[in-house]
C-alpha cells in the first residue's frame, strides 16, 4: 500500500454513505484518506440490502451511491481496505497509531493517521427477537430490507412463488418499544410507504395496508404519504398487531384498530415488518478500540447531542447512523461535515509540526 509523503492520512472507518462521502470530500481537498470497511464491498446498507430506490422521489440507488463508490475505488488519494477491521488504536491526536486487520488474509497493517472519522452505520433490527410476528418462523413474513431486493428484481412474491393479493406493513418493529428498542428509527415510515407505492406500481391489483402507530414522514417525505393514499389507494389502519398466525395457507393478522376501538383478525398473504435501525457490531467495536462513549441506546455519544461530528475526543469525528438513526441524505451531509472537521484538524497540525 502506497503512502504519500505529504502527511498522515485521515482514517475513515466504515464505507457506507457517510464514510464514502467523507472520503470523497477529503480526497478532493487533496488529502490522503484510508477507508476501512468491514464487509467485502463498499456502499453500506444501501448496497448490502440492494435498496431499489431512495426516498423521497424514488431515485434509483445507483444514481446516488454509484458515483461515490466509483470515486473512492478509483481515486489516487483514497486507499480502500475491504474486509478489514481496525483492531487497535494508540498514540495521540495527530499521530494515531492504528492496527488494521484483514479478516480473511489474517494479516495486519500498521499505520499512523492524523485523525479518524467513525462512520460505522447501523444494523436492521432482527425481528426474531420480537416473537409476536413470527419472523424467521412463518413463511411470507419479511422485513423492509428484504423487500427492497424483491422490488429491485421487480419480483414481489411469497414463499410459494406467487404474488401476494393482500399485503400488510407493520410499522415500529424493533423501535419505540421498551421491550426491544425505545427510540424512533425516523426513516421506516417513509421507507415503508415508499415500498407500498412501489408494490402498487408493480402489482396494481394487490391491496396494501399500513398498520401504524404514527406516521413520521418528515419534511419533504410527506409527499409520499399523500400520494400513497390519494394516487395509489393504500389503506391505513391506526393500531397495533398482537400476533401473526399462519393458518397453513395465509397469515392471520390479529390486532386492534384504534379508531374503531375494536379487534380485527384479517387474513393477509404477506406481512412486511418495518424493522428499525439499531447500532451494529461495527459501532460497538469502534467504540471499544477508540475508547468512545456510547449513549444509553448503544449509539455513539457525541459531546453534545446537537453536534454529531464532535466526539469529544480530539481528532476523532463521528458521522452517520452510528450516532443516531437517519436517512441516506442526512448521512451524506454528516460525512461531509466530518470530512471538513478532519481536514481542519489535520491542517492545523501540519502548521504546527514541521514536515
Amino acid at each position: 500500500m502506497m503512502m504519500k509523503e505529504q502527511g498522515r492520512p485521515v482514517l475513515v472507518i466504515g464505507g457506507g454513505p457517510a464514510g464514502l462521502q467523507a472520503a470523497k470530500d477529503i480526497a478532493e481537498f487533496g488529502e490522503q484518506v484510508v477507508l476501512v470497511e468491514r464487509r467485502k464491498e463498499l456502499g453500506g446498507a444501501p448496497i448490502r440490502w440492494s435498496y431499489h430506490t431512495l426516498a423521497p422521489d424514488f431515485r434509483p440507488t445507483e444514481e446516488v451511491m454509484g458515483p461515490l463508490v466509483e470515486f473512492c475505488e478509483k481515486n489516487d488519494n483514497v486507499t480502500v481496505m475491504k474486509g478489514c477491521v481496525v483492531e487497535e488504536c494508540n498514540g495521540r491526536p495527530g499521530e494515531f497509531r492504528v492496527r488494521i486487520k484483514d479478516e480473511s488474509a489474517k494479516e495486519f497493517t500498521e499505520m499512523v493517521v492524523s485523525s479518524i472519522i467513525v462512520a460505522t452505520g447501523f444494523e436492521h433490527f432482527d425481528a426474531r427477537v420480537d416473537p409476536r410476528y413470527g419472523y424467521g418462523r412463518l413463511p411470507n413474513v419479511i422485513g423492509i430490507n428484504e423487500l427492497e431486493v424483491m422490488l429491485k428484481q421487480r419480483r414481489v412474491v411469497g414463499h410459494d412463488g406467487r404474488p401476494p393479493k393482500r399485503v400488510a406493513f407493520i410499522f415500529c418493529v424493533g423501535s419505540r418499544d421498551r421491550s426491544t428498542n425505545p427510540w424512533c428509527c425516523t426513516v421506516c415510515c417513509g421507507v415503508s410507504i415508499k415500498q407500498g407505492i412501489e408494490i402498487k406500481q408493480l402489482l396494481p391489483d394487490t391491496q396494501v395496508y399500513m398498520i401504524y402507530m404514527d406516521i413520521r414522514t418528515m419534511g419533504l417525505w410527506e409527499k409520499m404519504y399523500w400520494d400513497s393514499m390519494e394516487k395509489y389507494g393504500i389503506n391505513f389502519i391506526r393500531g397495533r398487531v398482537g400476533e401473526v398466525y399462519f393458518t397453513g395457507e395465509r397469515l392471520l393478522v390479529k390486532g386492534e384498530d384504534t379508531l374503531v376501538r375494536g379487534p380485527f383478525e384479517v387474513l393477509f398473504d404477506m406481512v412486511v415488518l418495518a424493522v428499525g435501525i439499531e447500532p451494529g457490531p461495527g459501532t460497538k467495536q469502534a467504540a471499544n478500540v477508540l475508547k468512545l462513549s456510547l449513549n444509553e441506546y448503544g449509539f455513539l455519544a457525541p459531546r453534545l447531542p446537537n453536534v454529531h461530528f464532535d466526539s469529544g475526543k480530539e481528532g476523532i469525528f463521528l458521522a452517520g447512523a452510528c450516532v443516531a438513526p437517519m436517512s441516506v441524505e442526512e448521512a451524506l451531509s454528516e460525512g461531509s461535515a466530518a470530512a471538513m472537521q478532519a481536514v481542519k484538524f489535520r491542517r492545523n497540525i501540519v502548521k504546527k509540526v514541521p514536515v
Binding site: 393514499m229 390519494e230 380485527f264
Partner: protein
C-alpha cells in the same frame, strides 16, 4: 359476524327484539351493542328450560374482513370521489356542529368504516349519516380536500342502494 352467520345460529323461536330491554341483566350492558345480544324468548334442551337470560349469547365483535363494496360505490358517486384522501385527522368532526350535539354522528368515523369496509360497524352507524346538516364547515376545515360534506351525501346514496344488506338482523 356476517349476516349469514347470524341467520344460521338463530333458532326459529322469536327473539326479544325491543331495544333497551334486551339483555338488561348483563352487568356491563351499556358496553354491549344491542345487535350482538341474542336473548331467546323460549329455549330448551333435553327438557331443561333455558329461556331468557339463561340462554343468552353475545356475538363477538371481531372484524374479520375488509368488504369495500360500499366504498367503491361512494368513490364513483358525485362528490364522493375524494373520500380516499382522508387521513383520519378529525378536523371535520372537530368543527361539525351536529357532532357536538349528537356524538353518534361522527363524519370522520363514518368515512373510516366505509373506507376500511367494516360491515358490522357500517350496519350499526349508517343511519347516523342522515343527521348531517350539510353546513359544509367540514369541507372548509379539511386539510386534504376530502370534501366530507359531499362524501356524506354520496354515502347516504350508497347506503340506500345497499339497504337490504345493512338492515340490522
Amino acid at each position: 359476524m356476517t349476516g349469514k352467520e347470524q341467520e344460521k345460529g338463530k333458532k326459529k323461536d322469536k327473539e326479544i327484539q325491543t331495544e333497551g330491554e334486551k339483555g338488561k341483566f348483563i352487568i356491563e350492558r351499556r358496553y354491549v351493542d344491542d345487535s350482538r345480544i341474542i336473548e331467546p324468548e323460549k329455549l330448551e334442551l333435553g327438557g331443561v328450560d333455558m329461556s331468557g337470560r339463561w340462554g343468552t349469547l353475545v356475538l363477538p365483535r371481531t372484524l374479520e374482513d375488509f368488504d369495500t363494496e360500499i366504498y367503491e360505490d361512494v368513490k364513483d358517486l358525485p362528490r364522493g370521489g375524494n373520500i380516499g384522501k382522508c387521513w383520519q385527522c378529525g378536523n371535520c368532526t372537530a368543527v361539525c356542529p351536529v357532532a357536538h350535539e349528537h356524538p353518534e354522528f361522527n363524519p370522520r368515523y363514518l368515512i373510516h368504516i366505509v373506507k376500511m369496509g367494516y360491515t358490522s360497524e357500517i350496519k350499526r352507524h349508517h343511519k347516523a349519516v342522515y343527521l348531517c346538516s350539510g353546513c359544509g364547515l367540514c369541507s372548509a376545515a379539511c386539510p386534504k380536500g376530502v370534501d366530507p360534506q359531499g362524501v356524506m351525501i354520496a354515502m347516504s346514496i350508497a347506503f340506500k342502494a345497499h339497504e337490504g344488506e345493512l338492515k340490522e338482523l
